[in-house]
């Protein structure tokens, strides 16, 4: 290491605590702003409340004077609820967490208010929504989860493995017609050039079964009915493993797709200041540190990722919408209407 590098590193090391301290100060000022405005609660609408509970608990621990109320809403129920609140003039929603695919539509329909959370400069350009309407704060890696009592295949693994004859009739995916985890993952892999049309034909010939929900997919895989779930989030794999299910997650040598998770403050939110604090906290040191333990990856530059993960493939915003449109004709080959 030359002298200049040493000096730079010394400065960098010295600046990290300073930057952290500054961020903490700013978070505290956001906190104070919320409390001064009497906003001691925040209503968060999100899918899979249970999966995010540790995050909510940690925030509550950091800011015990702010109560977080979660409501499990996603898809049509989320849109219906927002419209109902607007129609009654009694907005309850402060903050929305959902898959990134929902956010361009939420923004287009005027459900989001612009806000640049503290530390937004540490997010890549792809992770900040149009007009600062939302941020992609985490990525949920997706991979092949197998029932180890039925499937015993040593790594390294690649996506071409799925078209091996030994897996014919043994795989289960989400409905390929809906923008589910399976669909987004395949569209991402296709957009990133990790699978091609020949792979799609080969995969269709394997006759994968369709499950009505991700939960049903997990259940049938873990009990051995369909022992291979090619597109299951790593976070859910961890839940299954913690319960003693005989499962294994494959980190692929040609990279794993990731589901982008986004968050935004609702336009007209009654507790927008508290929402600003929550949004900033998600990408703060504390929020970032928690992501890995939840089986996710923070989108903050340099955030740690899961051991064994070679490459994270994520497509966001308009690129994701385009990738899905492009994928639609191929999804038909998998039985989608």
């Amino acid at each position: 290491m030359n002298f200049l590098s040493k000096i730079t590193l010394t400065f960098a090391v010295a600046l990290v605590p300073l930057a952290t301290a500054h961020a903490q100060d700013s978070l505290e000022s956001l906190h104070q702003q919320a409390v001064d405005a009497g906003q001691t609660e925040i209503n968060v609408y999100l899918p899979a409340v249970r999966a995010f509970q540790p995050l909510i608990d940690k925030f509550t621990e950091a800011y015990p004077d702010i109560t977080v109320t979660t409501t499990e809403l996603s898809g049509p129920a989320l849109f219906a609820r927002l419209e109902a609140e607007k129609a009654t003039g009694a907005m309850n929603a402060d903050f929305i967490i959902s898959g990134d695919l929902d956010f361009p539509v939420l923004a287009e329909d005027g459900w989001l208010q612009a806000f640049e959370p503290l530390g937004v400069e540490s997010l890549g350009e792809a992770y900040v929504g149009a007009d600062n309407g939302w941020i992609v704060w985490a990525l949920g890696p997706v991979g092949v989860v197998v029932n180890t009592t039925v499937v015993d295949k040593d790594g390294p693994h690649s996506w071409s493995d799925l078209n091996s004859p030994e897996f014919a009739g043994k795989m289960v995916i989400n409905n390929p017609a809906t923008p589910s985890t399976s669909t987004v993952s395949m569209a991402t892999l296709f957009a990133e050039g990790r699978i091609d049309d020949a792979w799609v034909d080969g995969f269709a010939a394997q006759n994968p079964s369709t499950a009505a929900s991700t939960s049903a997919m997990m259940q049938s895989m873990a009990t051995g009915q369909y022992p291979v779930a090619p597109f299951l989030p790593y976070a859910l794999y961890r839940v299954l493993a913690a319960q003693g299910a005989p499962v294994d997650f494959w980190f692929m040598e040609d990279g794993n797709p990731a589901m982008p998770l986004s968050a935004g403050i609702v336009a007209g939110a009654p507790h927008a200041d508290a929402g600003r604090l929550f949004s900033s906290w998600l990408i703060s040191d504390q929020g970032v540190a928690l992501q890995n333990s939840l089986g996710q990856i923070s989108t903050v530059d340099g955030a740690p990722k899961q051991e064994g993960l070679t490459e994270v493939l994520a497509v966001t915003g308009q690129d994701l919408s385009d990738a899905l449109s492009d994928w639609k004709s191929r999804a038909a080959r998998l039985g989608a209407n």
């Binding site: 049509p76 109902a84 129609a87 309850n92 539509v105 289960v172 009990t223 051995g224 003693g244 209407n337």
Partner: protein, 564 residues
């Protein structure tokens, strides 16, 4: 305006507001593409999309076949067991009603999941057992995830529903005419089929149509047992309309609901046509016979059929469901734990969900039953009047609409009403919506019983000086009590298990066990989801036992006071 006139118009207003107005909202949503916009432009795009979609016709046909087979099979099985329970003194007779309550109480999702684990060729428990005794090829055929599997499992599950509906009318039917036929040489079976069964036509038609309609809306069982093999009924197609794109396609979903309502309207017209001009009153205060003992060999055969049904339809899947609540991972044998119960009981949200659900079933469910009884009474006693027509139309609307579409229609109705809109987000509005959703069950249960109670009984009471209230509730409602209690049970269990209505209308601070367990299930914590349902069913059964004991105690005290 007289008091009775005021009551009549109030009833019409309530029915129109809670039951007919949501139908108009659905129609508007089908035309405008939004459940919250009454202003135009009015387009027929939704209907155009649905009617030009080949998947719609396939799904309609699939639903029709599935629901017809399920309705026929479960009506036959339900009638068989209801007749045994009310008329035959055979061993195991006492098992029937508790078994039917248990099977009805078990959530459809878990029932289907249990069957998918019991009977699947790859890893099913039955397949493993059969393989171990050298019958592996039979195990490969026993597959719940198939058309026959879907139909059989649906029949098993819905039989509990059919039984609880039919037990009231069958136990109340007068046997003197049947006895007369036997005296004149007919066999008991032929007499039952040709004399008693036709007198129960209102009950069978009402329950049959309701089950056909519910069968077309059912989601959980086909989602688990049908989707993996490409079976897509109407309910799943409507769900696809809502989730296939990020922005829900309300126009297509609402148009499907409107088309379903038209289909049901045709069925109801058919029902009215078939029953028109006939009198089905058979309950005139004559004495009923108790159960009789059949010949010994027949008795054992009947008992064996009860045992077989209990084993196949109830014990196997439900034991799997209950056992699942004690497993670290649902369906994986080898380890046992009480941890799932500890988790949900130490979770503040879980305990609140349990308490809220119990409050709903003991407050909102009785309100639903009373409302349903009054509507059925109006339909029976004031035929060809405005109140009867409105009640008949209103009583079908909630049954014809897919879950989330009904919730949105109700939400749209409530939020456009000054005053009521202020209740948005409160448990009161959620309870009101659940009452509306439960009305079809309550009306169908009461409708058949009210038709069997002769109006002469009320006339006699009125001549003797009783008021309208005393005659209606003291005589008709009292005679309908078994059916109304069955309806309360069904509605309670429906309210506890339904997901769509609470999801849109609940307060953020309160949940029902349906939303709570859905959250657990979505996160892969299926065993904990099973545990909260086991806890609910246990608490519910305990409450019923306590109430029964209290009622018994009160009756004993009353008798003692009367004796003194």
């Amino acid at each position: 305006m007289s008091m009775s006139g005021f009551v009549k118009w109030l009833a019409i207003a309530l029915i129109v507001y809670f039951l007919v107005f949501p139908l108009l909202m659905l129609g508007l949503a089908a035309l405008t593409g939004s459940p919250y916009t009454a202003s135009g432009p009015y387009l027929l795009d939704g209907f155009g999309k649905v009617l030009s979609d080949r998947a719609f016709y396939n799904a309609f046909l699939t639903s029709l076949v599935l629901s017809s087979l399920t309705a026929l099979g479960s009506l036959a099985l339900g009638s068989y067991f209801a007749v045994i329970a009310t008329r035959m003194d055979v061993p195991l007779r006492g098992w029937i009603t508790p078994s039917m309550v248990i099977i009805t109480a078990t959530p459809g999702l878990f029932y289907a999941m249990s069957w998918s684990m019991l009977a699947n060729a790859n890893a099913g428990v039955l397949a493993k057992i059969l393989t171990s005794i050298g019958l592996g090829s039979v195990g490969q055929v026993l597959n719940a995830v198939s058309w026959p599997g879907l139909v059989v499992v649906s029949i098993f599950k819905v039989t509990g529903f059919a039984y609880l509906f039919l037990i009231g009318p069958i136990s109340a039917s007068d046997r003197s005419q049947e006895d007369a036929a036997v005296v004149f040489g007919s066999s008991r079976f032929v007499a039952f089929m040709t004399v008693t069964l036709p007198s129960l036509a209102p009950a069978y038609l009402a329950v049959g149509i309701l089950m056909l309609v519910f069968g077309m809306q059912t989601f959980d069982i086909p989602a688990v047992l049908g989707v993996p093999v490409g079976i897509q009924p109407l309910s799943l197609l409507v769900n696809d309309y809502l989730i296939i794109n990020v922005r829900p396609d309300w126009a297509a979903a609402s148009s499907t609901a409107v088309l379903m309502t038209l289909f049901v309207a045709v069925l109801v017209c058919l029902q009215i046509f078939m029953l028109h001009g006939k009198d089905f009153a058979s309950l005139g205060g004559r004495a009923q016979n108790g159960p009789t003992r059949p010949p010994r060999s027949l008795g054992w055969l009947v008992s064996a059929s009860i045992g077989l049904y209990c084993l196949l339809a109830i014990a196997a899947p439900i034991v799997q469901f209950v056992i699942g609540a004690f497993q670290p991972f649902f369906g994986l044998y080898g380890a046992w734990t009480l941890g799932n119960f500890v988790t949900v009981l130490t979770d503040r949200v879980g305990v609140t969900a349990l308490r809220t659900t119990l409050l709903i079933v003991f407050i909102a469910a009785p309100v639903t039953v009373i409302s349903g009884f009054l509507m059925a009474y109006a339909m029976s006693r004031y035929q060809r009047t405005l109140v009867s027509s409105v009640a008949r139309l209103g009583s079908w609307v909630p049954a014809t609409t897919p879950g989330i579409v009904l919730s949105v229609a109700l939400l749209a109705t409530f939020i456009q009403t000054p005053g009521i809109r202020k209740l948005f987000g409160s448990p009161v509005l959620m309870a009101l919506a659940l009452v509306v959703g439960g009305i079809p069950i309550a009306v169908r249960a009461a409708e058949s019983m009210v038709a069997q109670v002769s109006p002469d009984l009320e006339s006699a009471a009125r001549v003797s000086g009783a008021g309208a209230f005393s005659a209606t509730f003291g005589i008709v409602a009292r005679l309908c009590a078994p059916a109304l209690l069955g309806a309360w049970l069904l509605i309670s269990l429906w309210m506890a298990g339904t997901l769509d209505v609470p999801m849109l209308l609940q307060s953020s601070r309160s949940q029902t066990i349906a939303t709570y367990s859905y959250s657990l299930f979505a996160n892969g914590q299926t065993s904990e989801a099973a545990a909260i349902f086991v806890l609910f069913i246990g608490s519910f059964a305990l409450c019923i036992l306590l109430l029964t004991a209290l009622a018994g105690l009160a009756a004993r005290l009353r008798n003692r006071v009367a004796g003194a």
